[in-house]
Assembly symmetry: C2
Homo-oligomer: 226 residues x 2
């Protein structure tokens, strides 16, 4: 499959997430391009076109088998190819990430957790023994780690990213508010816990009673990145 | 200030977040529309226009005072008006949200945490005593809670949202993968921990290249960038 444009990639990821949820709900199930389009605010003809690009053909009036569509995207996008990552910063957020069922869905296996706090080292986080930061580089090289998840204080983000990239890490999943610079070819994906807060605060800007005025659009879907 | 279009709202929130970080770095500092534009991938003339809409006028060659710009957006957007919220689901993710410095930046004060697990009730999470779910509705009504943060299992999201909205909650910050339906006038903001994972998996879809295992210090050369 040729390298996808960003907008196509984003749409396929959204279909995949939606289908994984639908397929999980009740199986076997079929789903139409209209329903997918309505749920994700994409034109149904665009859904069919995107699905066609990953080799999916829908049945007239019936649509697509949700599990099959999910698998087709999974394979086309390479989500079925497992890769290993590490967690740097073994705090609450790190723990929450480790428990996410989504990791497996995208082929990610987190194999180690590191923390600079000597009181955390040797303890466990979601089944992983927390390792000291001084062992980070040798671990990354030895285990050919491809992804590092940063859940550390902002000030540590750039120095740690530099270190990790120099050891061969190919992607940084950055949960800190810091901006991280990396060489060309390395991916940084910023992920913020609180991107929705501005919109919520804006919605609630008027005093309590006045806001109930029914003039604001309802459900707003997650804007993806930071 | 009239109700903002979604795109304008999004841009102002991004400026605000960026300025809060810049202003926090070193103070006092000035910042040009060009620098803001470059950092956020927005045309500098658009930055100046948006800033003008919230009453900000830049100085020639110097730009804007970062703190002043931050304050102007904060006031224009209503982020300076405090409101109260509750956490429903006192797990790791809930704990991570409670520790975020961003809450205060948008006027949110979380005043209570609820959990259905009787073993958690009475314990503490980031300074809050965990309350039993059976006390939820009376608490929400009594304290006129405006926002509920859902960090609970997906299956509980819709029933709890229904309950909370019936008690007067005006915004749901939904961290579950479930889709939540609410009446018009109530805001649902979906926030996912793992939206970036698809892009990362796609970036790493090709096998790790052998050359990297020999020359870690070399910048990785790939057609993909962040």
């Amino acid at each position: 499959m040729p390298r996808l444009k960003r907008v196509v990639l984003d749409r396929l990821i959204r279909y995949y997430r939606y289908l994984a949820e639908v397929a999980g709900d009740r199986s076997p199930s079929t789903i139409t391009s209209s329903r997918i389009g309505a749920a994700l605010d994409v034109d149904p003809s665009q859904v069919r076109k995107d699905f066609g690009a990953v080799g999916l053909v829908g049945m007239s009036r019936v649509g697509y088998d949700a599990c099959e569509a999910c698998r087709a995207i999974r394979t086309a996008m390479g989500f079925d190819r497992p890769y290993t990552g590490i967690l740097v910063g073994a705090g609450k957020l790190g723990g929450a990430i480790l428990t996410s069922p989504e990791l497996d869905r995208y082929g990610l296996r987190i194999v180690a957790a590191f923390d600079r706090d000597p009181f955390k080292v040797g303890r466990h986080i979601e089944g992983l023994t927390i390792l000291p930061l001084r062992g980070l580089t040798s671990y990354v090289v030895e285990h050919q780690i491809r992804l590092a998840i940063l859940t550390i204080p902002s000030a540590a983000a750039q120095p740690l990213a530099d270190l990790l990239v120099s050891c061969g890490v190919e992607a940084i999943w950055n949960f800190t508010p810091a901006r991280v610079e990396v060489p060309r070819g390395v991916l940084v994906r910023n992920q913020r816990l609180t991107t929705g807060l501005g919109e919520i605060a804006y919605h609630l800007r008027a005093p309590r009673r006045a806001v109930r005025s029914r003039d604001y659009a309802t459900a707003v879907d997650s804007s993806e990145s930071s």
